[in-house]
Amino acid sequence: MSASSAFIDEKGGSASEPEYGHDPASGGIFSSDYKRHDDLKEMLDSNKDSLKLEAMKRIVAMIARGKNASDLFPAVVKNVACKNIEVKKLVYVYLVRYAEEQQDLALLSISTFQRGLKDPNQLIRASALRVLSSIRVTIIVPIMMLAIKEAASDMSPYVRKTAAHAIPKLHSLDPDQKDQLIEVIEKLLADKTTLVAGSVVMAFEEVCPDRIDLIHKNYRKLCNLLIDVEEWGQVVIINMLTRYARTQFLNPNINESLLEENSEKAFYASDDEEEEDKKDEVAPLAKRKPYVMDPDHRLLLRNTKPLLQSRNAAVVMAVAQLYFHLAPKAEVGIIAKALVRLMRSHSEVQYVVLQNVATMSIKRRGMFEPYLKSFYIRSTDPTQIKILKLEVLTNLANETNISTILREFQTYIKSMDKDFVAASIQAIGRCATNIGEVRDTCLNGLVQLLSNRDELVVAESVVVIKKLLQMQPEQHSDIIKHMAKLIDNIQVPMARASILWLIGEYCEHVPKIAPDVLRNMAKTFTNEEDIVKLQIINLAAKLYLTNSKQTKLLTQYVLNLAKYDQNYDIRDRARFIRQLIVPTDKSGALSKYAKKLFLALKPAPVLESTFKDRDHFQLGSLSHLLNAKAGGYQELPDWPESAPDPSVRNVEIPDWSKCTSRKDRKEKKAEKPFYSDSDGESGPTESADSESDSGSGSESASASDESGSGSESGEETESEEEEEDEEEEKKKKRKKHLDKTKAKKPVEESTESEQSSGSEERKRGRKAVKNQKSASESESESESSESGDESEDESEEESESDTDIRKKKTPVSKQPPKQSKKESKKETQEMSLLDLDDFEPAPASAPVTPVNFMSSSLVSDLEGLSLTDTILAPTTITPSGSIKMYELLHRITGEGLAVEYCFSRQPFSPDPNMVAVQIQFTNNTNSETKNLHIEEPRLQCGMRIREFAEIDVLSAGESVTVVMGIDFCDSTQAANFQLCTHTRKFFASIQPPVGELMTPVFLTENDFKKEQGKLMGMNEISEKLTLGEKCVNEHVIVERVTATANLSRVPCGSDKECSTPPPPPAPVYRFAGKTVSSGCLVLVTVSTKEGGRAQLTVNCEKMLIGTMLVKDIMQALSQ
């Protein structure tokens, strides 16, 4: 902490500015702190970017030091829409850090990101999603979910990657979203770009690592992409695939494991010949089928192998563990070289690698033998590395190399690092136990160490010698004698205790010395450590039992001493032993067995590596390193007994030459809206369908804007979310598309030949067909009946779901034409041609237009998602003229009653907060219509309707116009109601374009600028655009803007807008208005630049309105 106070804020701090942020006292809790923050707030509120930047830099420096800057939240969050990129980025940093603590305020920033999500620049979309998903505020979970879903089907792989990154964030914020997220993951797993692969597998590992079934279809693709994925992604993918392979393939070493023992040694020298020999052996041994590796298993091994050459240690380790866990024994060897290479890296890397090598070297010793010398220890290695290297060296020791290893060990025990010396002695002990040939050499060496001046060394040697002697005590009485002599010199209690135990245990081998030792120890008994005392008692007891003549008195003396010892353990032991060994009249049944108790043969200890059996943890994992299960660790499954069906990994490759499947797909898509309209659509078919869609990535890519009427509507039912930009267009399209579907079959038929040759051509083909429909009409119609059968035949090979759809299609296919026919009356020639179809006029029972139905179903789906509401505008007429007429009720649906409405832009006198809607009723029937009125308005909360007076009679052929008022509450939510006549009720809905929600206000230029100044920051939305070809002069621009929105122009000269960069004098147009219900100011500025480019700025307190208005005006101007 002391350092942080000395920490000077910013080098970049301009000298001219007073040092606002620097407080030498830096206590930070007292009043000075508040004052300081006031200064920062002031800087943040200023208009100058440089001041803001300065303030933000200081705030970030505070965060970096771990100081609390949360009270600045409101001041900072205002700048979230700041133009300066660095300020913006720093605000993001701040926001992500503190949003969790200040959830309510954080919500203020959300709309900025939502806007960013729609940006045409993919990088901006991505960064908006990134920040939005990093804000840990639970309320926005639905928004995040939506944003992720949308981004997951973005055109740009980079945005999709960001979506994948966002998935774990959302999952940790709200685990309830898991199911939906898994769907997104599934979708992204199918992605074919390397950019996405790593991130989505990471999401998979965090959200649903157990859903291994999601991998099947993508397994081969992942294997093939692997080498081009970025390095961090490679690590995650390889680790996941290791687990996957363990569940799906057979153990490649299955035969070898049967003769583990005899093959163990032969293996290392294995060349092909031996391999074959082994197989011959195996065959009679077990009646297993000869093992054949699954080609997919082989694919994985083959494709990961080059990654051993990666510069990234984590990647190399990941491949190494994959080979260790999955490869046939003969192939595992290749990883050794790469792992040894990693030993050159930083000591932390060495540490982890050595841990893993230690585990591997137990199972597969031969693999590392050639690299033995790479594990030699340098005096400069850190102790933990030394000890690990020692471990590996010990594991690698065998008859052939033990002499060199022991020579190395000799240098090690002279080291200055005592911990290391102790470990070296232990290692020698282990070598000696494992390799019988060198046991004597080792023992002698250790005995020499007993004369070492360092007590620690001696003590450690004694302990190890004790263990070694236990293995073959008979041959080593001289060593025991030697050690007995040492007891006078060695002071380390553990070592003394060990010697005493040895003498006691093998007193028969040293019958002369043992009593003498006891005599000596009895003298010093009182001064000994507790463990030594216990061993003295043991020694005494054992001697008493074997040699009671000489030691009886000594034993009793020792026991008496122990009786009064301070340690109760020793007192107890003494009492117990006395009862056991000294025969008295009372002595119990146990004393008979005293000899058996004390002089039983003790099994020799086994010196084992601590790394034994650690490989049940996946190597390279944290759990393996700690030898304990870490949170979130996924067990490495055992090999399956028999291989699961390998066909699950088969992926149907879309066959482009087969035009039927293609056609089918398109037909399905095309008709989907009708399914959902008339049948309410059944779930399974749709999902099956969408799968096939996402599977064919290239198709959706080719389905660019114009060609995509078919595919777009397909997506719509899938994702229920659309780019707003496309809405207008789409509405038109949907309408066209209704008609087209009717003409679908003919179209399809005639374009069939073209479809096989590229999408470009197909597009053109379709357009062409539209134009010459009349020409193709007769022909195609005659074939239309056939085409149905034909395609049905062709589709037989296809999946069942497809046939389902087909079945459904047949009954359905009659309905669309009816509807479209009704609509088509008004339309162009194209439509009238369709009328030639020999369908009957609509029966009265189908009164609802598809568009309306669609929108109402969408409304329920999209409820609460205000941004997407404009999609619902029931505009079916292309805009023409200054005041647009919208259709409320078509004359066919209305059985002769046509209703249109428009926004008259007149103030609605009964209630100034309402938007005036002028409605025109036209009676096209031959009879009167009576009692026209409105019923059952279904309105969003807060909305109101002022109904028009009931129209008593509307005689045949006449028209009447009424005005009603609707308070839309400044939203573009539709007002739904029923339009009633004396006989019928019609469902109707009015949805205002955002431009109609406002009324003009008059402002002077100065007022305008003043007001604009108040509506900066988040309230300002600004977009660059290119003016359409026709927007050449002032008049057109003004007309376009005012047509789009009910605003008035602010009179002004041709001055320059101060905020824009200084191009040559360019006209600036300003428009002002206020929203009808709440009276918020809406200010629009269009500043034109050379080359037909322009900047559009909207200032409005209601950000939603601002956003939508920008879009509408942009569209109007760029047409």
């Binding site: 902490m1 002391s2 350092a3 000077i8 910013e10 970049g12 301009s14 440089s50 930047l53 300065e54 830099k57 970030v60 420096a61 965060i63 970096a64 030091r65 771990g66 300066n84 990129i85 720093l90 940093v93 850090r97 990088l123 990134r130 990093s134 840990r136 740009s156 792989p157 990154h165 990471m202 390095e231 961090w232 680790n239 080059p306 050459q309 990666s310 510069r311 984590a314 190399v316 380790m317 990941a318 932390e348 890397v349 982890v352 050639p370 010398k373 340098r378 005096s379 400069t380 850190p382 102790t383 002279k414 080291s415 200055m416 070492n452 944290l622 700690l626 870490a630 949170g631 979130g632």
Partner: protein, 418 residues
């Protein structure tokens, strides 16, 4: 994956914290301090420390501990490798990675950390991409920034992230197109008392400095690629070409990068360029010792050995050294117990010698072990393995680049046991 990062200096001050997920209190570092205390030497701090709720994964670099907090299972190397990448990025940006530079550039550091990880998962680690996002500070720019209030954040968004070759930034333009390659080989060796080689191997790297316009596609080939036993490559290198043709084919990143590292196969005998005659002994009585070291050339392939430095880690009981060097200067640091003899150029005619007495702590027993000698040296214009670059070809661009290859041999972990 990586939850938070704390930077801590050697005296235990926590001077920077960054959280990628929810904030984790810095008290979690107490576990680290505990381990740090136990380890005595900073090198000995275990890289992975388990705590009740988290795991700390630590690297120690340039006198800074990078302590990362992990909550769930993650490959430890993944984190370690990433932390080193962070340190390298700082080095790349600020010239050195030290506490001072990090504190001076705290905002840039923060911006970098923000870009490098997203929710704890690495996002942009390529320096070419990062430099487009956040411009490294230069003296000129920081002055301009002070005056104009402009920033270090790039105005343009990096497009490299979007391409299939993320390591190269787009639209590179140079007036002089140059490509330099440094073949640097290091000899790792352990020599025993008598001067025989216990273990020796050669590790090499090829560092590149490529400043070429556009999208050059380079191919580097060797005269004797068989020498190379084990190689690892920058991600830009095409593995397949190497496997089949033993040539290195790549589209380079812009600027400095390490193209590859390699290991010379064990079959080749390693030439040891120098020999060391040494005699260090401590007397049983009198608390003193004697030191006599002579260094001479062995297999230098006719080149001069330069920058020769001998470092000796003395036993703790050595108090001071009273020596006489015939060439170069020596320095004994009684605190760290390191004797450093900077010889400079090795003159074969007059061999450098260091001789004199050592005084020990009186009363202490004489040290068991003689200290080992660590040697540093450099030989210009020689790759000790004999590796030679054959040619460098460029495809994809029209201009003629200027090409250059330099060879250097250095001592790696070169140790002489005594």
């Amino acid at each position: 994956m990586i939850h938070s990062l704390f930077l801590i200096n050697t005296s235990g001050d926590l001077f920077l914290e960054k959280h990628w997920k929810s904030v984790i209190s810095r008290s979690v570092c107490d576990y680290f301090f505990e381990a740090r205390e136990k380890a005595v030497e900073p090198d000995n701090v275990p890289p992975v420390i388990p705590t009740p709720h988290h795991y700390l994964i630590t690297i120690y670099r340039e006198k800074i501990f990078f302590v990362s907090v992990i909550q769930t299972e993650v490959p430890p190397l993944f984190v370690i490798e990433f932390l080193h990448r962070v340190a390298e990025t700082f080095q790349d940006y600020f010239g050195e990675c030290s506490e001072t530079t990090i504190k001076d550039n705290v905002v840039i550091v923060y911006e970098l950390l923000e870009e490098m990880l997203d929710n704890g998962f690495p996002l942009a680690t390529e320096s070419n991409i990062l430099k487009e996002l956040i411009r490294p500070p230069t003296i000129l720019r920081s002055m301009v920034n002070t005056i104009t209030g402009s920033s270090n954040v790039g105005e343009t968004l990096p497009t490299g992230q979007l391409s299939s070759i993320p390591w190269r930034r787009a639209g590179v333009k140079y007036t002089n197109n140059e490509a330099y390659f440094d073949v640097v080989e290091e000899i790792d060796a352990i020599l025993d008392k008598s001067g025989t080689t216990v273990f020796a191997e050669i590790q090499g790297v090829i560092d590149a400095c490529v400043k070429l316009s556009g999208m050059p596609d380079l191919t580097l080939s060797f005269m004797n690629p068989r020498l190379l036993d084990d190689v690892s490559f920058h991600p830009c290198v095409r593995y397949k070409r190497w496997e089949s043709e033993r040539v290195i084919s790549f589209i380079p990143p812009d600027g400095n990068f390490q193209l590859m590292s390699y290991h010379i196969s064990a079959q080749n005998l390693v030439a040891i360029p120098i020999y060391v005659k040494q005699n260090i002994s401590f007397f049983e009585t009198g608390s003193s010792g004697r030191l006599d070291i002579t260094v001479g050339p062995k297999q230098t392939m006719g080149k001069t050995v330069e920058c020769l430095v001998v470092t000796i880690h003395m036993p703790k009981v050595v108090l001071s050294a009273n020596l006489n060097a015939t060439q170069g200067t020596y320095n004994y640091d009684p605190v760290t117990k390191i004797l450093l003899w900077d010889i400079g150029k090795l003159n074969p005619q007059k061999l450098p010698n260091l001789k004199g007495s050592l005084s020990l702590l009186s009363g202490a027993p004489k040290p068991e072990e003689n200290p080992s000698l660590n040697i540093d040296l450099k030989i210009q214009q020689l790759a000790i393995s004999g590796l030679k670059v054959n040619r460098l070809d460029m495809y994809g661009e029209k201009y003629k680049p200027f090409k250059g290859v330099k060879y250097v041999t250095k001592a790696g972990k070169f140790q002489v046991r005594t």
